[in-house]
């Protein structure tokens, strides 16, 4: 093979890749992450199209067709139920299709909201220290002692029975409605459960962020930029935040995952998103109570739930690995 030689001019012509480009390239070459991302996108978009592609209306019961097994026909109407029907004869394929969007949006929204609260509070506490730190840390400890189940129980018994009492501004309900595509009354309840989860689950993120900021704020370049006359706001935005963020990105993907599973757990206990709004969690809960007679039922929402949770995890892994130069990754990108 002929050896390629570069003159100095040629070599200097070649722009080296920027940090960001390297990270993106490495992420794009992370096979599991890309595959998982594809799965999630597929789930989400098929769910978006649910009103057009679902074979039945979402909530239409048919008491003559309860607990039909997958791939059986309705004895009365002759309609084929791909994944069977539930306890009141609603088509499970339809419901699982609709629920992908609701479950994923809920998980994404709760994780985003709680991460934002956590990052902002952790940043303030870690950067300003003093009484702000004391206030945030005490508040954080206070919140983390709240029993989630008890609070959801109270919400359930008081507010969910009277949705009009829910003090959530209409624009917020509008956003929820637009994102999940559920009717107005349901989106109120959905918003309430989501808010309750977000408001109670930011404490870990805040602790992590505070710790990161505590270590970053002592670094020499923070002092050096203060010596250049930068304001606190500028130092936070340009120097502290970007350098403290990497572990928080991984934390965020884990939080999405956590909410997906937590919603299923809460539904199992009856405190999650309420029927008829379909989520993987509450379809699973209905299936669970009829599992002894119809053992196939939990698999119908369970399999997509597990796949989605795994996929989110793999994407998180990809994001974590991409900026890490010690990771050797498969594919062409790794060899450069």
């Amino acid at each position: 093979m002929a050896t390629q030689t570069l003159t100095v001019e040629q070599a200097s012509e070649q722009r080296s890749e920027g940090q960001w480009q390297i990270v993106v390239r490495r992420f794009l070459h992370h096979r599991m992450a890309m595959l998982s991302l594809l799965v999630l996108v597929l789930f989400f978009f098929s769910s978006l199209l649910a009103p057009w592609i679902a074979p039945f209306p979402r909530d239409e019961p048919d008491v003559r067709a309860q607990f039909l097994a997958p791939m059986t026909e309705n004895p009365q109407t002759g309609n084929l139920h791909l994944l069977g029907t539930d306890n009141i004869g609603r088509d499970l394929f339809t419901r699982v299709l609709y629920s992908a969007r609701i479950s994923l949006i809920l998980a994404l929204a709760v994780a985003t909201l709680s991460s934002l609260i956590g990052i902002v509070l952790g940043l303030l506490a870690g950067y300003f220290l003093g009484w702000i730190d004391i206030a945030v840390t005490r508040f954080l400890e206070f919140v983390s002692t709240f029993p989630l189940l008890t609070i959801l129980l109270i919400l359930n018994s008081v507010l969910l029975q009277n949705p009009d009492l829910i003090p959530i501004p209409p624009w917020f309900i509008g956003i929820i409605q637009g994102a999940t595509g559920v009717p107005d009354s349901e989106s109120k309840k959905l918003a309430l459960v989501g808010l309750a989860l977000a408001v109670l689950s930011w404490t870990g993120t805040a602790r992590l962020m505070r710790g990161m900021v505590l270590s970053v704020r002592e670094l020499a370049y923070i002092e050096s930029s203060r010596a250049l006359g930068a304001s606190s706001l500028r130092i936070i935005a340009r120097h502290v935040l970007p350098n403290a963020l990497p572990p928080l990105i991984v934390d965020y993907t884990l939080a999405i995952n956590g909410v997906l599973v937590l919603e299923a757990v809460l539904s199992f206990l009856g405190y999650g998103v309420q029927d008829p709004t379909p989520t993987w969690g509450n379809i699973l809960a209905i299936a669970e109570s009829n599992m002894l007679n119809h053992p196939w039922m939990p698999l119908v929402p369970g399999i997509p739930l597990v796949i989605a949770a795994l996929a989110v995890n793999f994407v998180g892994g990809g994001i974590r690995d991409a900026p890490d130069p010690r990771m050797v990754m498969g594919g062409k990108g790794a060899r450069q």
Binding site: S12, R15, S16, G18, Q19, G130, L219, A220, Y221, E223, S224, S225, R226, A227, L228, G229, A230, S231, R234, R238, H239, P242, N243
Partner: protein
């Protein structure tokens, strides 16, 4: 030229509150820097030289640190009276600082260009394009080849010496009147050290910036500074023109420092004499000469009675010692070398 000095520090006191007590890091320190002059501050670790520099910029972390007394008169105005906002306009703009460790003084996630233009945008209100042009100019000035291209590089793509050049470029970006270099060469190897010092000197001549160079390396001071002040236990114990300090040190601590380093012009076979003992605990400083427990010339009843004030011992040369001791004074009780 104006007769008042650029910087006049009077009776500066800085304290840190710790769990073990109040650390008196800087005690009653007064000095001045003239325009265009280089002042060297030397002293061992913990002698208060860095804290002095940080308090000039009001960068002492508070809590735990606090400037408890004194004045920092900069161009006729007391910086300690400034509001935080006013102080931000001084930092980087009129007084700039270069730090010890160039490896960690640059933000790893921003390009060099972004970091240099930061203070230009802050203080000179340049547009992005103007700031970039100025940044290229600055990198050329500090001797970084193909500056235009290097602006888009990240700190990890630069060597230690290059990064210190970038730090200097950042420091000088707004043409400050005073540059404080806090151990600018400590983290660099000797050849790079020489280049960096040469660079600071050259730029100082070109731009007329006054420089305070803080170091524990007497060699650096000898080559750079017009005047030297020696700090010990948060006090200035000797100050004077560089030549005077090296030729005729009058404070036993300075004499000890000079005896503990090798010189090219000395007789062969001389043993290096380290200074025995450790620096004093700055929490419980008794009202005695702080160096007296380690001093070879200690006189009981005198040195442990008062804190010796700085007194005139030569032209512009002052030392904080009660006695007239010079480098030729034999050490009492020691055998006279044959």
């Amino acid at each position: 030229m104006a007769t008042s000095p650029l910087l006049q520090v009077e009776n500066l006191e800085v304290q840190f509150k710790t769990q073990d007590g109040v650390v008196k890091a800087v005690n009653d320190v007064s000095f001045h820097v003239d325009r265009g002059e280089t002042l060297g501050i030397v002293g061992e670790s913990g002698s208060g030289k860095s804290v002095t520099a940080m308090s000039l910029m009001r960068l002492i972390p508070n809590p735990p640190g606090q400037i408890t007394g004194g004045k920092v008169m900069f161009d006729g105005e007391n910086l300690l009276d400034y509001s935080d906002d006013e102080m931000r306009h001084v930092r980087g703009n009129r007084i700039a600082m270069i730090f010890q460790d160039p490896m960690t003084s640059l933000n790893p996630v921003l390009t060099i260009g972004r970091q240099i233009t930061e203070s230009l945008e802050l203080h000179l209100k340049l547009t992005q394009k103007e700031a970039r042009n100025r940044a290229v100019e600055l990198l050329n000035m500090v001797g970084i080849p193909s500056a235009d291209r290097r602006l888009d590089d990240y700190p990890h793509q630069f060597s230690g010496g290059m990064r210190q050049r970038v730090m200097i470029a950042m420091g000088l970006s707004c043409n400050p009147e005073l540059l404080i270099a806090d151990e600018p060469t400590t983290a660099l190897d000797v050849t790079i050290q020489a280049q960096i010092l040469e660079l600071i000197q050259r730029l100082q001549h070109e731009l007329g910036t006054a420089v305070i160079i803080i170091t524990h390396d007497l060699g650096v001071v000898a080559g750079m500074a017009d005047r030297v002040q020696v700090m010990y236990a948060g006090r200035i114990v000797e100050e004077g023109p560089t030549n005077e300090i090296f030729a005729q040190p009058r404070m036993p601590y300075t004499i000890g420092l000079l005896r503990s380093i090798p010189r090219l012009d000395e007789e062969q076979g001389r043993k290096l004499n380290p200074i025995r003992g450790l620096p004093p605990d700055l929490i419980n400083l008794p009202q005695i000469c702080p160096f007296s427990p380690r001093c070879d010339y200690f006189v009981a009843g005198k040195c442990d009675a008062t804190v010796p004030p700085l007194r005139q011992v030569g032209v512009d040369h002052r030392a904080a010692c009660l006695f007239d001791i010079s480098i030729d004074t034999p050490i009492p009780g020691a055998e006279v070398p044959v």
